[in-house]
Symmetry: C2
Subunit: 377 residues, 2 copies
């Protein structure tokens, strides 16, 4: 009998109240019963996104929402600015390339945060730029970007600001409207405490105006279809009914807890984790760490072994590095239904795993510090 | 306390064994535990599709798989033949139009089956045609098309055959390999007894060769990414973990029941429904009825009222007509986890609803005939 502890930046654990909703007898999606749940859910999403705009729900992964953000606002040959600081930021470039969109690249090395002033410079030098694409919390490196500052800059140009907030939304302050973010994409399996399978996207008035000129081909991702269907509390294509019913429950729990309280809780978990890692003599990877995932440098000879040992021996799932960072970092998530006890299990088991792998750490040295940070609250 | 009876052609009811799997603690998708379930599920899908080829799983609705079938095999300006007999067949034309693909239309009026000889004629007259797109069981009209005959014809040309089997697969004999269907698309919420959110697609060797020449833009729907990920029992983007775990359970149940037995069961339900409707003096809409959904003509003045009354008074969900057929037909599904008792409830409640709406039917006249058909087996 193995018990599993998910400390990965997606999927995150699902609260039993939410999981059981997935198991309820399925409703037909063109009924007033489901319509009411759908309407209520779409309304609740506005609370989590901190927006007055509609939040469109698509059946798909976060990448589906990213592609939706490209094909609805651009045309082949259009110029965009991409400010990337990791693998998910780079994905904007790959999607743009697939559609013949020209990328002006203001990316930074992995581990660093994107530079708002570089975006401003690029916008001034390239007056035809249609959109700026960037990432809120870059899951692959654990870096947070200053979306508020970037929003302020982009608002002064005709370009729209598109932000991948797949991992950060719900986990760390993100104010769609107040920060003037035109298009925000997210997914169900991180801050929303839900299974993967739903993607979300918001569209500002400025972005809808740009959408009118977009000629990139689209059908399933065509947001105009969603806009029209939302008028009758529906989606244009069969929605993942059970996931939406469980999302409704998850949002109720988020509202009951209060977004600000959740942000504070994750910030505390992140602070405790960072202190514990430094207490173990480990170095943090992100120069500007976000609150939803902490990335830690490890010796490449044992990077992948740590992840495997934690999973196989202790049932603890943390994330390793992706792509070019494979084996070089480990990552702990603090988002969704991850609490203090989960974190304590993760740090304790890490201490044991490091000892087993011959690293000179003192058992209790990291977890003790984490406890002290948590005690101070 | 309302009890619901789903007799709609998607979503269909979910067996409790499958629903409860959705509520199990979520696994991380890059683990050997989930990898094993994924591999087992992908293998099981081959059984349901009657194919030796891989069946790719996408996060999305059936339409996502349809768009995948267009963008992976074609280039702008390519010519295709579309043989449509309903709303879902027409969707092929709409997707093609969105991507600048030229359609040679050999559609038939709603209620009729597409004509294989017309497809053959069009293929002979248009030697540049890259693909033939059609529908197996057209959910909107209840018609079944002769895919076996069409497969035999298309195999003699360089064009590939793409079939939308979203509603028919698992419900009625469909042999992907034996019938030489190059690309088959389906979805989770019908014959698979699962919630919506997963889309499936198969690709023959002939279709992969065509894929090499395709230049339509794609990223999320790029099947080459899925082909590569499948080598390590993964998907390129975060898969809907809970839906895949429950799909694994559903396929085990389908295998235990036996596909042939399920096909026979649905055929019997369809036969009983057709006989009952005729016993009530109602006319069938489909000239070549499929076994997974029975469509029945009703007076336009009460068409929508029947559906609403059944749902509101009896908790019975059947489908009305879509688009141009709104109010003109009603539809009963026989697929997935729909059994004899469900059908009896549906027909009995229909008799009561028709009586309430002032239609001159004799209560018991239809259901009695249905019972007799079921008794004969």
């Amino acid at each position: 009998m193995k018990k599993y502890y998910l400390l990965t930046p997606g999927p995150t654990p699902i609260p039993p109240e939410v999981a059981l909703k997935e198991a309820m007898p399925i409703l037909h999606h063109r009924t007033s019963e489901f319509g009411q749940i759908f309407k209520d859910t779409a309304e609740g999403l506005k609370y989590v996104f901190c927006t007055q705009q509609e939040v469109y729900i698509l059946a798909g992964s976060g990448t589906a929402a990213m592609e939706t953000a490209v094909v609805n606002f651009l045309s082949a040959g259009d110029e965009i600015i991409v400010a990337s600081c990791g693998i998910f930021g780079d994905r904007w470039k790959n999607i743009a390339k697939a559609y013949g969109v020209k990328v002006i690249d203001v990316s930074v090395p992995y581990g660093e945060a994107v530079k708002p002033e570089e975006i401003e410079k690029a916008l001034k030098e390239n007056p035809n730029v249609k959109a700026v694409f960037t990432t809120f919390t870059e899951t692959s490196t654990g870096v947070a970007n200053d979306i508020k500052a970037i929003g302020k800059i982009v608002a002064g140009f005709k370009a729209i600001l598109v932000v991948d907030a797949v991992s950060g939304l719900g986990g760390q302050e993100f104010l769609t409207d107040a920060w003037e973010v035109d298009v925000v994409v997210s997914g169900s399996q991180k801050g929303f405490m839900l299974a993967p399978g739903l993607a979300f996207i918001t569209v500002s008035k400025k972005a809808w105006e740009l959408a009118e000129k977009s000629t990139l081909p689209k059908f399933y991702f065509d947001l105009k279809k969603y806009k029209k269907s939302y008028l009758t509390d529906e989606t244009p294509f069969t929605p993942p009914v059970t996931l939406i019913v469980s999302l409704n429950q998850a949002i109720k729990m988020i509202q009951s807890e209060g977004l600000e309280n959740m942000w504070a809780q994750y910030a505390l978990l992140a602070k405790a984790t960072r202190a514990a890692m430094q207490g173990l003599g480990l170095e943090l990877f992100a120069k500007v760490p976000c609150e939803v995932v902490t990335s830690v440098k490890v010796d490449e000879s044992i990077g992948s072994k740590i992840v495997k040992l934690l999973r196989d021996n202790y049932g603890v799932s943390i994330a390793g590095g992706q792509g070019a960072m494979k084996g070089k970092i480990i990552r702990f998530a603090h988002m969704g239904y991850i609490g203090k006890a989960d974190l304590l299990v993760g740090i304790s088991c890490l201490e044991m795993a490091l000892t087993q792998l011959g690293v000179n750490v003192k058992c209790g040295a990291g977890i003790g510090i984490a406890e002290e940070v948590l005690l101070k609250g």
